[in-house]
């Protein structure tokens, strides 16, 4: 990139210089011809043709690729010295429409090929004779090629001077910066908090920055670990009393001397305890997924098998509600290392939602496909779809979509759990409205080779 720019500028400088030189040489060539014509005219009028010829010969003009001619009014040659190796009758013919300039000289340029040009100046003398003077640019071309050579060395030299610091900058400064960015990106992608930036030795400022960055990562990791420990504590603290309450209520359920009303109340309480404990579990799972602390139990799973098995769980309740369930497998990339329980729970939550929100006679499609190194599971329904603000909002904890109603049970944890599971698998989730009505929810699970069992 940088080198290309430098080369481009160098070529530009070279072309401009050559053009300027060429132009300048043309001007100088014309000035030589004009000078000689005027000098010869003066000499001719004072001393005649012989003196002019003597001057021309003495000047060695023949070797400098110059020619000279004197003709009388009838066009007959009085003197004729063409540029060797041309013959005496090789002089170009002036077209009739060429007018002389303010010095009385008419000009003619002919290309001889390969950049070689002959320039002829013609001056009308007072005695109606004509003086011609011709010159080729052979000398100019030779001079130009020397200029070219010098210019080449000059440009190469200055290019080295100009690019050297750039190369030095790139290797000493930019490369460590780039490595630093790569490290930071890897840390951002990696769900575990164990990675750190490798501080570059070369640049003290960057080293300081990396160390500070790593220190803040240490703090984030410590906080996360503390949070995880607190979660475990919370789970313990809540589950144990729930277990005690449950034990006592079950005692009522099994007692033979209890009224039917009391039995009913006890059964309801048990149901609520079951619900509370699954809420506790979901909240803890979501929190661990969001903070990157979710520990996965990875095993080789055939996703198609898992999807079909999961859909099978819902066939009865779909039938009950008059819904059609359809599985489409577009591509199955074989077995994949995932946490079977969690992914199944994520699919369950999507299916459960789809069934809850799709009106009777609707259809729910579950599609498994493969896309750029990832498996994608899509659940499409023919329900009311999502409002625009829903698409982002519904993934948050305790948020229910705008189509939720009192008749649909749930406290808005299902989709957050789906997202947490996907995040823990380095995957993604999303929801869109379908053009033909209803919504589509998808989970993307990359089959990354780095994602091995010992992670």
């Amino acid at each position: 990139m940088m080198l290309g720019l430098v080369a481009f500028v160098m070529v530009l400088i070279w072309l401009a210089t050559i053009w300027l030189f060429r132009h300048h040489f043309d001007e100088v060539g014309k000035a030589i011809i004009e000078d000689d014509l005027l000098e010869y005219t003066a000499l001719y009028e004072q001393q005649g043709g012989k003196a002019v010829l003597a001057l021309f010969e003495a000047g060695g003009h023949g070797q400098h690729a110059q020619g000279f001619r004197l003709i009388d009014a009838s066009g007959k040659d009085l003197i004729n010295r063409p540029i060797p190796p041309q013959q005496t009758d090789d002089w170009p013919v002036f077209p009739t429409d060429i007018k002389p300039d303010e010095s009385g000289i008419a000009w003619l340029r002919r290309s001889l090929g390969k950049g070689k040009v002959i320039t002829v100046g013609r001056l009308q003398l007072p005695g109606s004779e004509e003086l011609w003077f011709a010159r080729t640019n052979d000398d100019d071309i030779a001079a130009l090629s020397r200029v070219n050579l010098l210019l080449f060395f000059a440009l190469v030299f200055s290019a080295v001077l100009a690019v050297g610091p750039v190369v030095w900058f790139a290797s000493r400064v930019l490369r460590p910066v780039r490595l630093l960015i790569d490290d930071a990106r890897r840390i951002a992608r990696e769900p575990s908090l164990g990675l750190r930036i490798r501080p570059p030795d070369a640049i003290p400022e960057l080293r300081n920055f990396s160390e500070t960055f790593n220190e803040s990562l240490d703090r984030v990791q410590a906080l996360t670990e503390e949070l995880e420990a607190a979660n475990d504590q919370l789970a313990h603290e809540l589950r144990t009393p729930l277990a005690r309450i449950r034990g006592n209520i079950e005692g009522i359920l099994k007692s033979k001397e209890v009224s039917p009303e009391a039995l009913d109340l006890a059964a309801r309480s048990i149901e609520e305890i079951t619900r509370s404990s699954s809420i506790i579990r979901d909240i803890l799972s979501i929190r661990s997924g969001d903070s990157g602390a979710m520990r996965l139990n990875l095993e080789a799973v055939d996703l198609e098998h898992l999807v079909r098995e999961t859909v099978d769980l819902y066939s009865a309740s779909a039938e009950e509600r008059g819904l059609r369930l359809e599985v489409q497998v577009e591509a199955n990339s074989g077995t994949q290392y995932i946490d079977r329980q969690r992914v199944q729970q994520a699919i369950c939550n999507l299916l459960d939602n789809a069934i809850a929100y799709t009106p009777e006679n609707g259809k729910i499609e579950i599609q498994l496909s493969s896309d750029k190194g990832a498996s994608v599971i899509r659940v499409r329904d023919t329900g009311p779809g999502l409002s625009e603000e829903d698409e982002e909002r519904i993934w948050r904890r305790f948020v229910r979509g705008s189509a939720a109603s009192a008749s649909n049970p749930g406290i808005g944890l299902g989709l957050s759990l789906v997202r947490a599971v996907a995040n823990a698998h380095h995957g993604k989730v999303g929801a869109v409205n379908r053009r033909e009505g209803g919504s589509e929810f998808w989970i993307r699970l990359p089959h990354s080779p780095a994602f091995s069992k010992d992670e």
């Binding site: 589950r239 144990t240 079950e250 404990s277 139990n297 309740s317 459960d352």
Partner: protein, 225 residues
């Protein structure tokens, strides 16, 4: 049957002793890990029930230590930690089953029964069946008075589970775990739906259903009186 319970929560331990004592099981209680280990080594037990988070020594470490000394008694973990990896850790260190708090006593009893049956497999008792029933395990048929009734794989597993635990109340979460292999609430009544199909296929007219559902507890299989 002698059961050793190691549980630091006194209230839960009291409930467990009261509940399990009804089944002619003798339950001894220890309330910390180290004493639990001593008791486990010092007695003859048919089953250990261990809380995972114990003072002194965790339930998981306790089992690791026992297993390293070739101690074969089945172990059931009780834990307030319900994550998959907690369960996997417990089972990989030598536990035979894992139950998350809060749990139903019925489920605990069903799991204890299953573990005790598994450890006494040297003399398997022939499965007793309702009158007029035969099982064709190869084709998954129940032959009811000479008529073969074909069952789906899940229906088959569910029925066998009920036959193994005849008369015991089986909770939804136990059935989901044993028949479907899932440890979370899928939000759909898959157990009830499958039970409905079993009832349609197997129940006989003019008789109460073999499968009774008890609200708040679960389902129980009983043959006709």
């Amino acid at each position: 049957m002698n059961l050793l319970l190691v549980e630091d929560d006194a209230e839960l331990a009291r409930q467990l002793v009261a509940e399990l004592g009804r089944d002619e099981w003798r339950v001894s209680v220890e309330c910390n890990g180290k004493e639990g280990l001593t008791a486990a080594k010092g007695g003859r037990w048919d089953l250990l029930i261990l809380d995972v988070s114990l003072p002194g020594m965790s339930g998981v470490d306790l089992v690791s230590s026992l297993r390293s000394e070739n101690f074969r008694t089945p172990v059931l973990f009780l834990s307030a930690k319900g994550e998959v990896h907690d369960r996997v850790l417990g089972l990989s260190r030598g536990g035979d089953d894992y139950l998350t708090k809060p749990f139903a006593m019925d489920e605990l009893r069903a799991r204890i029964e299953a573990l005790l049956r598994r450890s006494s497999l040297d003399q398997p008792s022939p499965r007793s069946l309702p009158e007029g029933w035969e099982l064709d395990s190869l084709q998954r048929y129940v032959i009811v008075r000479g008529h073969p009734v074909p069952l789906q794989p899940r229906e088959w597993s569910l029925l066998k589970l009920f036959l193994d635990h005849e008369g015991s109340v089986l909770t939804n979460s136990f059935l989901l775990d044993q028949v479907w292999g899932i440890h979370f609430d899928p939000g759909t009544n898959v157990v009830n739906a499958t039970l409905c199909r079993l009832r349609r296929k197997l129940d006989e007219p003019d008789h109460p259903s073999y499968f009774e559902t008890i609200r708040g507890r679960g389902h129980v299989f009983r043959r006709h009186a």
